[in-house]
Amino acid sequence: MEYTVLILLLPFLSFILIGLLGTKLKPVAAGAFGTVVTGAVALLSYWTAFSFFGAGRNADGVYQTQIPWNAEWLPFGDSLHIDLGILLDPISVMMLVVISTVSFMVHIYSFGYMKGETGFQRYYSFLSLFTMSMLGLVVATNIFQMYIFWELVGVSSYLLIGFYYTKKEAVAASKKAFIVTRFADLGFLIGILIYGFYTGSFSFTPDSEVIGTAKVFLPLALGLMFIGGAGKSAMFPLHIWLPDAMEGPTPVSALIHAATMVVAGVYLVARMFPLFIGYAPEVLHVTAYVGAFTALYAAVVACVQSDIKRVLAFSTISQIGFMIVSLGVCTSADPHAGGLGYMASMFHLFTHAMFKALLFLGAGCIIHAVHSNEMSAMGGLRKYMPVTHVTFLVACLAIAGIWPLSGFFSKDEILAACFDFSPIMGWVMTFIAGLTAFYMFRLYYNIFWGRENKELHAEHKPHEAPLTMTVPLIFLALVTLAAGWIPFGEFVSSNGQAYHIHIDWSVAAVSLCVAAAGIALATWMYLREDRKVADSLATRFSGLHKAAYHRFYIDEIYQFITHRIIFACISTPIAWFDRHVVDGFMNLLAWISNKASWLIRGMQSGYVQRYGIWFLGGALGLTIVLLLI
């Protein structure tokens, strides 16, 4: 399966080519090239998945992990070396399919969305860079390669968020995203170094006898790695960059900040799952609590936001919380006894990627039509945009967890895993699922029903998006309709053995009821034009409403900590030290160099006889020095 190398090489070439040619290339040519390449990557990924799973299980009943290509890149010692390679196992193959599919759809969609933008070529070359980095991340054969691509993903995300670099908010958002995730990655790097130091390898599966001595440090290393994952996956309190990242073009939000990059943290935990389960289960449970809190927090905030992309951003944070919780509640590697969450998490990752990309792309169509992100500019759009309306509704139903859409199946497994872990966790997550249904339908009604902004719409009549944008919507909607019926457990499970998904109807019934209640509440509050209930609630609980609208002032707290404490008390003195002591030393060095170079200029007189004297004098002088010491 050496051809899998092409999956990384093709987007890389496309990045280099489009990037180097730049504006010499016609926008259409750049876009078409990038799209064709991504299409080819998608086909290759499907073929990889087909042949990987088609090869069947080996004698142990698991799909054989394959490394079609691997090169030792930087050796540090006998066992410690950084490799670059390609690792195929069920989750990496699954990720290949997800990433290449969404990326392909986004490439097509961007044709319509980004039409006429300056920097169209730059946009496509960055998309290629991102695709390459993300694919490289998931197929990494070792933790260090993963880290390299992890950073590359961060860079491409930074570049794409700041795509409209003349806009102040976009620049600020890109910086914020980069700095916050980079800060978290520091933890990741330290974790990797501790891991490498004590186990003597960067491999995902080190020898068990090596681990014996490193046992004490593994929880620390894994915990630090999770900090990196929490940064990328926007877990509380490192989530602050994701809502701002919505300043980037909407297709980018769909690809990077909904479907692929933000689940890198989930993927990291899944990748390290055997180590977590074997040596640090308590750390794993901590991640569950972090995930649960994040899911709750983000869901509450999502209920009151007025910018539709912000609602989706918080919904993404909340859903990633679900995935992390699901991994965190695992107590063993056996899917029949406490390991169900692993499969559920990966399943939800898969379905969520599809319907969340669909939601974002739908939001892109709406923004394209009304030229605003605010709900107040919308309302009643169902008449103008039928395709967007229907596909958006499908995605909303899926995320709310309504049978038979894909979200129902994956969320049901997650809830079942949570109830296995503890009833409290189960009920909390069920409640959040209800909130999810509520805020998604609040969003839906506010966009497509409810009070229409007639003045705005009269001035500029909303229209359905062009075909390049609606085709990806329809495709993703079909996937969302069908994906729940995939026997996911047959492909991915915590111990690699086949796991037959069976729906726990007691859990399912509860979650369906809660989801229906959430939808009903949203319908009651937001369907009609007057929205009396919603407005009166907002005024009655104005304190709570305001706090939630301002995301419980987490950004302001950060602002306070960074500006008042870190900048004022730590950075300023260090800056002074740097400016006066460090720079002063360098200036002194420069001054001495200049003086000395002026003083000794006579040595280079140009008279060859004097050179001879220096020559002999130097030799004799050196001899004397040597004999004296």
Binding site: W73, L74, P75, M586, L589, A590, S593, N594, A596, S597, W598, I600, R601, M603, Q604, G606, V608, R610, Y611, G612, W614, F615, L616, G617, G618, A619, G621, L622, T623, V625, L626, L627, I629
Partner: protein, 477 residues
């Protein structure tokens, strides 16, 4: 005596002599028309030669001529490097050789250069001081002719005179030192001499005198004074040859002899190198700061680079040898790229080599400016270019052997060097110029050589297999 051993182990030199004689004959019979193809043929033949000898054929060391000549795989590696450097210089020299007054001497350039290469090859394979000295002289005397190649130009003639006088002086001192060694030990064979080295004052004197000979070639302080004048006056192609190939051979030979012959007085030669390294790096840097002529500037830069190369020698370990060869390889790519740009700008702008002439080069010749920038970055040791890795490795080799202060001083000097390398970058990219070097298209073979150097600057550091590959051969030196 079994003559087959000569062909088995001395294949590089024999092939090279063959190439040289063929070039000589071709020059005689070719005439005006044949000379048109001379460049292409020469580069092709040299490429074939490199292809045939680039990897050492034998994995063991062997002595022939009763120990006068020693074959070792690592010397084979070094010889390949020298040949590659020579090829790059040939590629860059075409345009200059094509001028009216040098066209007729084209053959001489090739033959003289190849003669010095033969000399260096013998020098680094020597097992006997006589052999070593003959090789050294074979590398020096034709070099003087090369330096004075543009003999009707005042600068070139002056440079040639200064070079040959300094070379004579250095050789004289060295021979004097060798004669002392012979007097105290009774032998000139490297292997036998070690037993007789006891560290007496006379032997320390002869160690220093011997060192001056190679110190001259490497232009280490205080034996460096000829460098600036010679580099400035010599034709640029010759300067680049002098700064890279000649230095590489000398550095390797020095390390081998110090380790082999002077092993009993290791603390003496380490102290000697310690002083010379600090002097070379610092003084080279201090002079480079004030230069206005780019060739003179490169001369001082190469003096300080020679100091860094010596860090590999001072470690005295096989790992140090690896770092030394790797450093030289990377230095070759970067320095030849810089000289290639200087050369092609000089040839295409009517002899502009001043630093002010480079103001605004980016506007008119962006590709050359970028190559020059990357070459200077590599020389300064900025990651991710190869120069960073080579500096890192060579510092590590010296650090491992306990030369902490020395490495620290070298590190401070890299900061200073960064300043003057960036001055040129600033000139090219930022400084304004009302009359910049006009836009031109370099000749094909220069472009090829620049591309090769560029590839070297970028790839050598990242492809760890190259360093590891060299490391395979440096056993048991």
């Amino acid at each position: 005596m079994d003559y087959s051993a000569i062909f088995t182990y001395m294949y590089t030199e024999i092939a090279l002599i063959g190439v040289t004689v063929a070039a000589l004959l071709y020059d005689l019979i070719a005439g005006r028309r044949g000379r048109k193809y001379f460049h292409g043929i020469m580069c092709g033949v040299l490429l074939l030669f490199i292809g045939a000898t680039v990897f050492p054929y034998h994995k063991e060391t062997a002595e022939i001529f009763g120990g006068m000549y020693i074959y070792s795989p690592i010397s084979g590696v070094v010889k390949s490097l020298l040949a590659i450097g020579t090829l790059l210089v040939f590629l860059q020299a075409d345009k200059w050789l094509g001028q009216k007054d040098t066209e007729i001497k084209r053959g001489e350039f090739y033959v003289l250069t190849l003669s010095t290469l033969i000399g260096m090859d013998f020098m680094i394979s020597a097992g006997h001081f006589m052999m070593f000295f003959i090789g050294l002289e074979l590398a020096s005397v034709p070099m003087a002719c090369l330096v004075a190649f543009d003999k009707y130009k005042h600068n070139s003639a002056e440079a040639g005179a200064k070079f040959i006088l300094s070379a004579l002086f250095a050789s004289g001192l060295m021979l004097y030192g060798i004669s002392f060694l012979y007097g105290t030990t009774g032998t000139l064979y490297f292997d036998d001499m070690t037993a007789g080295i006891d560290g007496s004052a006379l032997q320390i004197l002869s160690l220093v005198f011997f060192f001056t000979g190679l110190g001259f070639k490497l232009s280490l302080v205080p034996f460096h004074l000829w460098t600036a004048d010679t580099y400035e006056g010599a034709p640029t192609a010759v300067t680049s040859y002098l700064s890279v190939v000649s230095k590489a051979a000398a550095a390797f030979a020095l390390m081998v002899i110090l380790i082999k012959v002077f092993a009993p007085v290791v603390e003496y030669w380490q102290a000697l190198l310690y002083i010379v390294i600090i002097l070379s790096i610092t003084i080279g840097n201090l002079f480079a700061l004030r230069q206005k002529n780019l060739k003179r500037f490169m001369a001082f830069s190469s003096i300080s680079q020679a100091g860094y190369i010596m860090l590999g020698v001072i470690s005295g370990t096989p790992y140090g040898m690896t770092t030394l060869i790797f450093y030289v390889l990377v230095y070759m790519a970067a320095n030849l790229a810089a000289f290639g740009v200087i050369n092609t700008v000089e040839q295409n702008s009517g002899g502009k080599v001043g630093m002010d002439d480079y103001n605004g080069l980016y506007k008119t010749n962006p590709k050359l400016a970028v190559i020059m920038t990357l070459a200077l970055f590599s020389l300064a040791g900025i990651p991710p270019f190869a120069g960073f890795f080579s500096k890192f490795f060579i510092f590590a080799a010296a650090f491992e052997q306990g030369f902490h202060v020395l490495v620290f001083i070298a590190l401070i000097n890299t900061v200073i060097s960064l300043y003057y390398y960036l001055l040129i970058v600033k000139a090219m990219f930022i400084n304004r110029n009302d009359a910049p070097v006009a836009t031109f298209r370099s000749d094909g073979s220069t472009r090829i050589s620049l591309l090769l150097c560029l590839a070297g600057i970028i790839i050598l550091g990242l492809a760890s297999c190259i360093f590891d590959g060299i490391n395979l051969y440096t056993f048991g030196i």
